[in-house]
């Protein structure tokens, strides 16, 4: 029997691979294995804390269950293959599809958990090696409306302020999210600020942890954000509480907004949102009276067919109150993945090059074409949901998915499965056998974050270095290396980088917001916040302080609209999706931890005691949840944390996939699906049996 000595040999400093907060983490290496982690006490974001996921990181990248060689599917079974063979199979299928249908027959899904260097490589591979703009990633289903909405109103779609501003705010407003679950360390800083005397205003249909601690909780009905905000603005203007000087000097289109919100008197807003008038008045007063009010929001704003308008509405509120452009204020979208901000920054999106430079702008194309030595496609590409739709229509023939599991995480699972089945070739680059990987024709083994160098960009735009604690497992490689080698097989030699640093230098040269950054500078500063360039060599903690990125802040009137599917007689309950502190995305990393796995059963339905009583449902009762698109069996948790009439499911569990139920009705601007609201019927299976 092998002896198991446990002698620490080193601790490698890195960045936590889970949510977008970007905590500092030390990876403890013993005998060549990552055995544990430690928090970094001096890290500016996490200051010595980690969440349950972060503490479980060693399990997430554990050798067990990892894919260690390329795999090719033959007669329905995977067999190990060499890299060369795998590249040949892929390049042949890609070449055939391109010669028959053109480059747009291929779709690339980049990975928001991978590094900036990997994401840059993914979009360069699509644009320069394949010559299509069909590249997207999971920001589509989290914050694409933030990018689109804030781009229109402010000129920049990222968090305007920094995480440390939480301590500088007099009022913290949490809109449609529960940071103590999804962004736990940031949530902790909110608790800290609240205990130190800040006021807390929570807007959420659920009674979240922060709602329980709040000075005021606006428990609005699902999908009524715009009506609520228009109502708050109506009250603000009616009382003259708006920031007059700020509106005059820094904003435009005030009259149009005034006219629109005039249509939203309190009685009407109360009827739509369910929030009593006095609470609306208190909230409007709190937000406009606060010296510094910092607003953060999450998926409760974006995952609607009105997602982009919801974001615009948030922007209207902050601009009218003048709560932006100063420390301790701002509009702060909380990003879900460790590098979803970076994946957007890198242009892993169908409409922009790195640094949000539009692909349809000829000057941008010329600049990138010159650098990449390749003619580039002129029109925008398909979004991720556009690709699945294209696959069903026979337009998209091959897809390459890097580290995402759309079968579990995207809306309407049956639709996604049919689309992936319809492809000529599905390539998945993964750590473990996910539901999506099991449908692939070729699987390529990816190096985990702990096995490679690169950078992650957190939600406050902080670009941070990661470094390998151990070498890649088996034959695994970083995504950028895989893509570079595959590009060679396809006849494009512009991606033969020697190191991740060489990629970073290339992307920094081409993206004005990253221009002033380099690995040595990042290493010396716990990262740097973009924009970082000649004008701001030390990076930028606060956006829009003197003027907005687009000049004036634009107020845009928007209207309330119901979710695409409302409860009715047949499907009488509202259904919404949530996240849990203990799990991350499809669960492929967090569910490898025995502690996190033990904490939550494999799927649950949260149901209010009133609805539970009507259906004779108790704790752990087996239930079937049915929507127009599918059905799921799971167990009930009876709770006051969801309101009567609304049930909720987390989306992490393949055994009870909430996305078999969700609606893929989409926001017209961004194609964001309406993951937050649809209608379902719940059946008590134990009643049925007796």
């Amino acid at each position: 029997m092998d002896a198991t000595t446990h002698n620490i040999s080193k601790i490698t400093h890195s960045i936590c691979p889970f949510c977008g907060v970007g905590c500092g983490i030390g990876l403890r290496v013993e005998q060549g294995k990552i055995t544990g982690v430690e928090p970094l006490t001096h890290h500016p974001v996490s200051q010595g804390s980690l969440c349950a996921k972060g503490w479980s990181t060693a399990y997430a990248v554990d050798p067990i269950d990892r894919i260690k060689t390329p795999l090719i599917k033959e007669n329905g079974e995977f067999r190990p293959a060499t890299w060369d063979e795998a590249y040949r199979v892929i390049s042949e299928a890609f070449s055939t599809a391109i010669s028959e249908k053109g480059p747009d027959a291929i779709g690339i899904i980049a990975c928001a958990r991978a590094t900036n260097e990997d994401c840059y490589a993914a979009q360069k591979f699509a644009r320069a090696a394949l010559r299509t703009n069909n590249v997207d990633h999971c920001a589509r289903i989290c914050h694409s409306p933030s990018v689109a909405g804030l781009q229109q109103t402010l000129g920049s779609g990222a968090m305007t302020n920094s995480i440390g501003d939480i301590e500088k705010a007099d009022l913290i407003v949490i809109f449609g999210c529960d940071p103590t679950e999804n962004h736990t360390v940031l949530g902790g800083r909110i608790i800290q600020a609240k205990l130190a005397g800040a006021k807390l205003l929570v807007v959420d249909p659920r009674l979240t942890r922060l709602a329980k601690m709040a000075d005021l909780h606006l428990q609005l009905k699902l999908g009524t954000n715009i009506a609520l905000i228009n109502g708050l603005l109506h009250i603000t203007f009616a009382n003259g509480w708006e920031a007059k000087e700020f509106l005059n000097s820094r904003c435009e289109n005030e009259e149009a907004l005034r006219a629109k919100v005039a249509e939203y008197p309190p009685e009407k807003v109360t009827a739509i949102t369910g929030i009593p008038e006095e609470k609306l008045i208190s909230a409007a007063r709190m937000y406009t009276e606060a010296d510094r009010a910092m607003l953060s929001y999450g998926m409760g704003i974006t995952q609607y067919t009105t997602g982009t308008n919801n974001v615009i509405s948030i922007s209207n509120l902050a601009l009218v109150a003048g709560q932006i452009g100063r420390e301790g204020t701002g509009i702060n979208p909380l990003r879900g993945q460790n590098n979803v901000q970076g994946a957007c920054d890198m242009g892993a999106l169908p409409n922009v090059f790195p640094g949000y430079q539009e692909v349809e702008e000829p000057a941008n194309r010329e600049k990138f074409a010159a650098s990449w030595q390749q003619q580039l496609p002129e029109h925008k590409g398909l979004t991720s949901l556009g690709m699945t739709k294209g696959a069903l229509a026979g337009e998209v023939r091959c897809m390459m998915i890097m580290g995402e599991d759309p079968v579990v995480t995207d809306p309407d699972q049956n639709h996604v499965r049919r689309a992936l089945e319809a492809l000529d070739l599905l390539v998945v680059v993964e750590l473990v056998m996910t539901e999506t990987a099991s449908m692939a024709d070729v699987i390529l083994p990816a190096a985990a974050f702990s096995e490679k160098s690169g950078t992650f960009t957190n939600c406050e735009r902080r670009v941070q270095l990661i470094q390998p604690a151990i070498p890649p497992l088996g034959e695994a490689k970083p995504d950028w290396q895989i893509l570079g080698e595959l590009a060679n097989h396809l006849g494009y030699s512009g991606m033969n980088w020697k190191s991740s640093e060489a990629i970073f230098d290339e992307l920094a040269r081409l993206s004005p917001i990253y221009q002033g950054m380099s690995y040595p500078k990042l290493a010396a500063n716990y990262g740097l916040q973009w924009p970082c360039n000649d004008q701001a060599p030390g990076g930028t903690a606060l956006l829009h302080s003197k003027e907005f990125s687009r000049g004036k802040g634009r107020l845009i009137p928007v209207n309330h609209a119901d979710p695409a599917e409302m409860p009715d007689e047949e499907y009488p309950l509202f259904f919404t999706t949530t996240r849990l502190h203990f799990h991350y995305g499809c669960g492929s990393m967090t569910r490898k931890s025995p502690l996190l796995e033990r904490e939550t059963p494999n799927g649950v339905l949260f149901i209010n005691a009133k609805d539970a009583e009507t259906l004779a449902i108790g704790p752990q009762t087996r239930v079937r949840v049915i929507s127009r698109r599918g059905e799921v069996e799971t167990r009930a948790i009876v709770t006051d944390e969801v309101p009567p009439g609304t049930v909720a499911m987390p989306y992490h569990f393949k055994e009870a996939p909430s996305n078999r139920l969700t609606n893929n009705a989409q926001d017209p601007v961004t194609k964001m699906p309406e993951l937050k609201a649809c209608a379902v019927r719940v059946i008590n299976l134990e009643n049925e049996a007796t």
Binding site: I11, T35, P39, L50
Partner: protein, 338 residues
């Protein structure tokens, strides 16, 4: 106990390194974090990090985050006992030494722990000033090393020379080759006086003392625990970094011909820690779990078994807790000194 004079602490450290593998707290390259790492030629002086505690106590040397217990191939069980190279932990602080003594009792019958522990000698260093958040004097865990808790205890004197106290025969054997001069017995008395002076320089800990009293007199209202339970985000940071926390769970992992059973650190703040198969949970409320944690740290009930409280005053929980319910925050809240 024998006491010697030592001119240079590094001389002792390097001498120890000729005998066994030495681990000591040091800054990971290029950072300000203080970690337990193997001694190398790059390791700086032990005193360069004063007065900071390493992020982790020393418990992971004996009770690692994860370890294999046995393998089962469908027919036979085979125990996997650790074989640890002889090692020395150099520079353990008093609070962490008290915690090792605590865990030595808890894991007395545990062959895995004992195999590691028996391969290890401990060299402690007296703390000469309070560390941030530390309150060891209040729980009788420092700042100077308690007799018998280290094989060697080192104490820096005013003139920067050192006293070395050999508490065990193994400790005495370690320094044999150094030919150290025996110290004047008066210096031991001086050391005791100095400890009281340093202890007096610690920030007030009335909230800790009052909190301990409230806990032991069951005077903390359930609502107070509940409101703190709401702040518990169940991250497990406090139990991971606590030098005395010893709870573990086990699980099976598939291997080529069967399974291997691993155990890993558990946390009593997790909802599922005590949840039963039926889904009934005797501590379903987070407030109850927070209460239980602090009861284990400060109840007189455990003093009978361990001769001390389950808290050694290191303050690591306060630093790592994202929900602001580390030891100072909790004790201020329950003692009403907030």
């Amino acid at each position: 106990m024998k006491v010697f004079i030592l001119e240079d602490i590094e001389q002792l450290r390097d001498h120890l390194a000729t005998q066994r593998q030495v681990f000591t707290p040091q800054h990971t390259e290029g950072s300000t974090e203080l970690d337990w790492l193997p001694l190398t030629h790059k390791t700086k002086s032990i005193t360069s990090a004063w007065p900071v505690l390493p992020t982790y106590p020393a418990k992971q040397f004996f009770f690692p985050d994860r370890e294999i217990l046995f393998q089962f191939d469908g027919h036979a069980f085979e125990e996997v006992l650790p074989e640890v190279e002889l090692q020395i932990l150099f520079g353990v602080r008093s609070c962490d030494l008290c915690a090792i003594a605590y865990q030595d009792q808890f894991f007395q019958q545990d062959p895995y722990y004992q195999a590691r522990r028996k391969a290890t000698l401990l060299v402690g260093i007296d703390c000469k000033q309070p560390c941030e958040g530390g309150f060891c004097p209040t729980v009788n865990a420092g700042p100077f090393i308690r007799d018998g808790l280290a094989d060697l205890a080192c104490h820096q004197r005013e003139d920067e020379s050192w006293l070395v106290l050999a508490h065990t025969p193994e400790g005495a054997a370690l320094i044999q080759g150094l030919n150290l001069q025996t110290a004047d017995p008066n210096l031991i008395t001086q050391r005791s006086t100095e400890e009281s002076q340093i202890a007096a320089g610690f920030p007030s800990a009335v909230h800790i003392e009052a909190g301990i009293q409230r806990i032991n007199q069951a005077q903390v209202p359930a609502e107070t625990w509940q409101s703190m339970g709401l702040q518990c985000l169940a991250c497990s940071g406090c139990t991971n970094l606590c030098p005395t926390c010893s709870c573990f769970t086990s699980y099976d992992r598939p291997i080529a011909d069967g399974i291997e059973r691993e155990r890993c650190w558990d946390s009593c703040l997790y909802d599922a820690f005590q949840r039963e198969a039926s889904s009934h949970n005797p501590s379903a409320d987070a407030g109850q779990r927070v209460e239980r944690f602090w009861f284990h740290k400060f109840s007189d009930a455990y003093v009978k078994t361990f001769d001390r409280y389950g808290c050694t005053g290191c303050g690591r929980c306060e630093k790592t807790c994202p929900g602001v319910i580390g030891v100072h925050s909790v004790m201020k809240r329950i003692s009403g000194t907030l």
